[in-house]
């Protein structure tokens, strides 16, 4: 289908461009690790505390690293004031959104892959990669689905680094709650936990759709 081909083409173009310029990845990766280290000191973790604080620390690191990365992929296009080169083409704006979303998830994903082992070491926490994967995937998708849309919005203003978190944080509260609780349940299994994964999945589906449909109103002048 032409639509999917176009999504892949834009994604491939973005990845190739970033790869060749090598600016973003190292910065975001370092940032995530640093946040985790600071949390380690800030909470003065003794053995019994760690399991309680660890999931929160992890997701705070992910959320903040995401804020950095989200702004970047859109900024790349808007840098010379031109998302124009892409918008000039009769490409479906939904395809542009999806491509940007996937690109964001890829970048944030790389950061997460790097940060997770470090997290396991710092917090002395056993890491179950298997069950953790869906949580991280759904959580990241939720943050990125909303974040990609708002990054495009904030990119048009001067205070974009400030505005993006202000707009996005309140909206991703359900994802953060669910992700932290779900991660926590992995470390300390509890009975009668609400279906956090289900909540995240519902959130993702809803906001992916809405963002995809409204993206063109943000991005077309």
């Amino acid at each position: 289908m032409m639509f999917l081909e176009q999504v892949m083409a834009i994604l491939w173009k973005d990845v190739r461009s970033e790869w060749r310029s090598k600016q973003m990845w190292t910065g975001m990766g370092l940032f995530a690790i640093l946040v985790l280290v600071i949390f380690n000191f800030a909470f003065d973790l003794r053995v019994d505390n760690k399991a309680a604080v660890a999931p929160g620390a992890l997701w705070v690191a992910f959320v903040f690293a995401s804020m950095l990365g989200l702004g970047r992929t859109i900024a790349v296009e808007r840098e010379k004031g031109t998302m124009d080169r892409l918008l000039l083409c009769p490409v479906d704006r939904k395809a542009v959104y999806l491509a940007k979303l996937l690109g964001n998830m890829l970048f944030i994903g790389v950061v997460e892959i790097v940060a997770l082992p470090i997290f396991a070491v710092l917090f002395d926490v056993p890491l179950f990669f298997g069950p953790l994967l869906p949580i991280v995937l759904l959580g990241t998708l939720g943050i990125a689905a909303v974040g990609t849309l708002f990054a495009a919005m904030a990119a048009a203003t001067r205070a974009r680094e400030l505005l993006l978190p202000i707009l996005v944080f309140p909206l991703i509260v359900p994802v953060v709650i669910a992700a932290v609780r779900a991660t926590g349940t992995l470390l300390v299994p509890a009975a009668n936990e609400p279906p956090w994964l289900g909540l995240m999945a519902a959130f993702d589906v809803i906001f992916l759709s809405v963002s995809m449909l409204t993206f063109e109103y943000i991005v077309d002048e």
């Binding site: 909303v146 849309l149 708002f150 919005m153 904030a154 048009a156 203003t157 001067r158 205070a159 505005l163 202000i166 707009l167 944080f169 309140p170 909206l171 509260v173 359900p174 709650i177 669910a178 609780r181 509890a190 609400p194 956090w196 909540l199 519902a202 959130f203 809803i206 906001f207 809405v210 963002s211 409204t214 109103y217 943000i218 002048e221």
Partner: protein, 250 residues
């Protein structure tokens, strides 16, 4: 020379005549609303402080509830207006809906701020804490942040079509999100049972209290409508003024 079309004098006279009669109607409605609101306020204050019986459990401090509940509900409904205004604006591209949305956002934010403050005071007098993370209060707080985000966004993007569209999208997403936020906080809270604010959850309100609440509700609705109208007019004036300045500048 220039190919611009000039309006004929007849067309211009007709247009301004229509504007004039419309303009005369508005202050009348505003005046009526103002009078009604004032009357409502007076009656409400009397009812809240004198007519309504003192609550058996909480004492006089409970009276703040009559101010808190209406402003909270209206503050939340106002956001629905912002979102609906946004949707219609995106669909019809008629800027008047955007004026309404923006006005509703400003008034709604004020009402919600008032609701948060009164809610906090009420919690303090009833339970001794200024804040509790119960689902309703937390969702109200998050909605408040979304309001502020909306106002900041509109402010940064200025008076432009792009700003109007961005605001509309934000409001739509926010509106869809609020119930989800509420549920997720609710689930989270079942794991940390804490003090719950008795926000209107008392099943039997004596009829005098119910009546007071109803009157307060009507009054706040009148106040909201009054402020909404004024701010709508303000938005309209500011936009038209900007347009006028633009066409005059050479």
């Amino acid at each position: 020379m220039a190919l611009a079309k000039r309006e004929t004098r007849v067309e211009r006279r007709d247009a301004s005549a229509k504007e004039g009669s419309q303009a005369k109607r508005l202050p009348v409605i505003s005046m009526v609303l103002l009078a009604l609101t004032f009357a409502g306020m007076m009656i409400s204050i009397w009812m809240v402080f004198i007519y309504a019986p003192t609550d058996a459990i909480e004492g006089d401090a409970q009276r703040i509830f009559y101010f808190h509940l209406p402003s909270a509900i209206i503050g939340m409904l106002a956001f629905a207006i912002v979102a609906v205004g946004g949707v219609v604006y995106l669909w019809k591209k008629d800027e008047r809906w955007d004026w309404a949305a923006r006005a509703a956002a400003e008034v709604g934010a004020v009402f919600l701020t008032f609701a948060l403050i009164t809610g906090s005071i009420w919690g303090r007098t009833t339970w001794g804490t200024w804040w509790t993370w119960d689902a309703r209060l937390t969702t109200t707080l998050i909605l408040w942040f979304i309001y502020i985000g909306y106002l900041m966004l509109r402010s940064y993007m200025g008076r432009s079509e792009a700003g109007a569209r961005a605001g509309a999208v934000l409001a739509i997403i926010g509106l869809i999100d609020v119930p989800i936020i509420y549920e997720s906080v609710n689930w989270w809270r079942t794991l940390h049972p804490q003090a719950v604010l008795p926000i209107g959850s008392s099943p039997q309100l004596p009829p005098e209290m119910l009546l007071t609440l109803l009157v307060a509700f009507v009054t706040f609705t009148l106040l909201f409508s009054l402020l909404l109208m004024q701010l709508y007019q303000l938005e309209k004036m500011q936009t038209l003024a900007q347009r006028l300045r633009a066409s005059v500048e050479v």
